[in-house]
């Protein structure tokens, strides 16, 4: 149990600047902005996301072509017969490769985000509930991770393990979990000292039951919302790493790689680079919108 209203509840202005990116949901201020239309937005975002995920899952079954063999003449423009999104400089079908790439991206991003979120949630809950030196040690550790420039560390790790999809996944996971740990720990600290948890503790509920019934339900929505937004960020970051050559080698159908190798034909066949780029943008956008819509939804219901 915390022995004092100690300084650790105030985020110390140390190396770890406030949480990165759009991690922290902004404090809810009812009534300052209209959220009336948002349930509609949430439905639209979720539906679109469902369609995209379905297409990505069914990918290989939908396309008559293979993603890593020549299937037509090179440099066909989009909307050509038989090749909706055209072909690249080698004659690979771009639509097939983009769907395959989206599938890979989705899979990788979900694994990375889920893994970091679960690990961060567990560690953050532990730190927040235990308090004392456990909290100190764990939080200094996350502070240290947060003090590093995210992408550079991802780059270094991916480089260190040798360029491949899985090493860039590991690279990103390494820098991503501390965000969740910090987020969770902050929420848990806030909730754990809140009157309702003290009341539950006083009513005799202890240990894991206390955490499960009275603490985690208030932390989970924040983490879920953040994670759903972050999948978009991870997709973009994976593509970025692949773009500079830290993903799988050619001719793997990876969106970032496709965009980067298409760059040399940008003047003649712009679509080779642009279409995978748009795919990354769209995927990341969908998750961002979904997360934002979820957040408004949760805020609206007062959760």
């Amino acid at each position: 149990m915390p022995s004092s209203p100690d300084a650790t509840t105030v985020p110390a202005p140390t190396a770890a600047a406030p949480a990165r990116r759009r991690m922290l949901p902004l404090p809810s201020r009812p009534g300052r902005r209209g959220h009336e239309a948002r349930p509609v937005g949430a439905v639209v975002a979720l539906t679109l996301l469902g369609v995209v995920v379905l297409v990505a899952l069914l990918g290989p079954a939908l396309s008559p072509y293979s993603s890593i063999t020549v299937s037509g003449p090179p440099d066909l423009a989009p909307f050509s017969a038989g090749h909706w999104l055209g072909t690249d400089h080698l004659g690979f079908d771009i639509a097939t490769r983009v769907v395959e790439g989206a599938r890979t991206s989705l899979y990788a991003a979900c694994v990375v985000t889920l893994g970091s979120a679960v690990f961060g949630l567990a560690l953050g809950t532990l730190a927040g509930m235990a308090g004392g030196w456990v909290d100190q040690v764990l939080m200094r550790l996350t502070d240290l991770f947060l003090a590093f420039p995210a992408t550079i560390v991802a780059m270094a790790v991916a480089m260190g393990l040798g360029p491949s999809l899985s090493s860039s996944m590991i690279g990103i996971a390494v820098i991503w979990w501390p965000l969740y740990a910090r987020l969770t720990r902050g929420e848990v600290r806030r909730v754990a000292s809140s009157p309702h948890v003290e009341a539950a503790r006083l009513s005799g509920t202890r240990g894991l039951t206390l955490v499960r019934r009275h603490v985690v339900p208030s932390v989970l929505p924040t983490v879920v919302v953040t994670a759903s937004m972050d999948i978009g960020g991870v997709i973009a970051m994976l593509a970025g790493l692949a773009f500079i050559g830290l993903g799988s080698p050619e001719p793997a159908p990876e969106l970032g790689l496709m965009a980067s190798s298409g760059m040399q034909y940008i003047l003649g066949s712009w679509w080779i680079a642009v279409i995978p780029g748009i795919a990354v943008g769209l995927l990341s956008l969908l998750f961002t919108y979904t997360g934002d819509a979820l957040r408004s939804l949760l805020r609206g219901t007062g959760a």
């Binding site: 300084a7 110390a12 202005p13 140390t14 190396a15 600047a17 406030p18 990165r20 990116r21 759009r22 902004l26 404090p27 201020r29 300052r32 902005r33 209209g34 239309a37 937005g41 240290l144 003090a147 590093f148 420039p149 995210a150 992408t151 550079i152 560390v153 780059m155 270094a156 790790v157 480089m159 260190g160 393990l161 040798g162 360029p163 978009g232 960020g233 973009a236 970051m237 593509a239 970025g240 773009f243 500079i244 050559g245 970032g256 965009a259 980067s260 760059m263 940008i266 712009w270 680079a273 642009v274 780029g277 748009i278 990354v280 943008g281 990341s284 956008l285 998750f287 961002t288 919108y289």
Partner: protein
């Protein structure tokens, strides 16, 4: 205040040390064999052994690390295995290019952030559409923005150049930052040309951070102008403009500033991508080449340098935050 700054710089040193350990470990124990990639796969076993001996690769790790750090501190950054020149020379050539781009990106982000923050806070349906669009723009990867920029402003309109830093030769100025050098030597045409080359890459790297900044700034502003102290200010007869300037901006500045520090990390990684696309001869382009040729030493050193950049910038941001907000330094 001074004490806060000293403490903050102290933790900076610690973080830098950890960063160098990380980079060191990854460069020595991860990835390919640097000796092989330097000598080629046909090198004789004895040549490899001699090279290992020369590079000190057989020493125990702490010794190697000590070696590494002391050489770093003396400015000896080792050889670049891909270009076969000292890494230090490579960096010296390319650093100004990256600095020029980074400074421009930072400035652009702030300008985009401040301008969009005003739009972002618009009420009603139009504001909703703007917020929706900006949220989307923020999630576009830098290489997509860059590619779109190339297609529109170069291929379609032909307004802006998209390759390299200048249409002329390297500048004759001292700083190596071309726009500045042109101004310093009175060669305005040169500056103008360099500026044109700078516009697209800087914009591509600053869109994401700019939008993120705008969101934080807009939220901070709306929180602080709806706060009790803003109400007090109004009750004392301050006009809405004055409330916004005297209280709104002051209080929204700290979250915005810390967001800027955080976004600087994103900017750095965008710069790597953007330099590649625009053939900008800076650290990023060098990094990509080094990755491609498994030049571990160069990759490690650039990562360390960019990492140090970020860490230092964030320490400065924290100190600036403490200067703005008295609660930070006194907590």
């Amino acid at each position: 205040m001074l004490r806060f700054a000293v403490r903050r710089l102290g933790s900076l040193v610690l973080v830098l040390l950890c960063l160098s350990i990380l980079v060191f470990v990854l460069s020595r124990y991860g990835g390919g064999d640097p000796v092989r990639s330097y000598l080629g796969n046909n090198a004789s076993a004895s040549a490899v052994a001699a090279m290992r001996e020369k590079l000190g690769l057989d020493d125990p790790m702490p010794v190697q690390f000590w070696d590494y750090v002391s050489r770093l501190l003396h400015g000896d950054l080792g050889m670049s295995l891909s270009t076969r020149r000292p890494v230090r020379a490579e960096l010296a050539d390319r650093l100004p290019a990256t600095l020029e781009l980074a400074i421009a990106t930072l400035l652009f982000s702030v300008v985009i952030g401040v301008v969009l923050a005003r739009v972002y806070a618009l009420p009603g349906c139009f504001g909703g559409i703007v917020r929706f669009t900006l949220l989307g723009a923020a999630s576009a990867p830098a290489f997509l923005v860059a590619t779109a920029g190339v297609l529109i402003f170069f291929v379609q309109l032909g307004w802006l150049p998209v390759s390299g830093r200048t249409s002329y030769g390297p500048s004759e100025g001292l700083s190596g930052i071309y726009v500045l050098d042109g101004l310093l030597t009175g060669n305005l045409a040169y500056s103008w040309d360099a500026l044109q080359h700078l516009l697209l890459p800087a914009f591509a790297a600053s869109l994401g951070p700019g939008v993120a900044l705008a969101r934080v700034l807009a939220d901070g502003l709306s929180t602080s102008i709806g706060s009790a102290y803003a109400r007090t200010a109004r009750s004392l007869g301050e006009s809405e403009r004055s409330v916004l300037r005297r209280h709104g901006l002051r209080n929204a500045a700290s979250p915005a500033l810390s967001m800027l520090g955080v976004q600087f990390g994103m900017m750095l990684s965008s710069l790597v991508v953007v330099e590649q696309i625009f053939s900008w001869n800076g650290l990023g382009q060098y990094l990509v080449m080094a990755i491609d040729r498994a030049d571990t030493n160069a990759v490690a050193t650039i990562s360390l340098l960019l990492g140090a950049f970020y860490v230092v910038i964030n320490a400065l941001v924290d100190i600036a935050l403490a200067a703005i907000d008295p609660r930070v330094r006194l907590s």
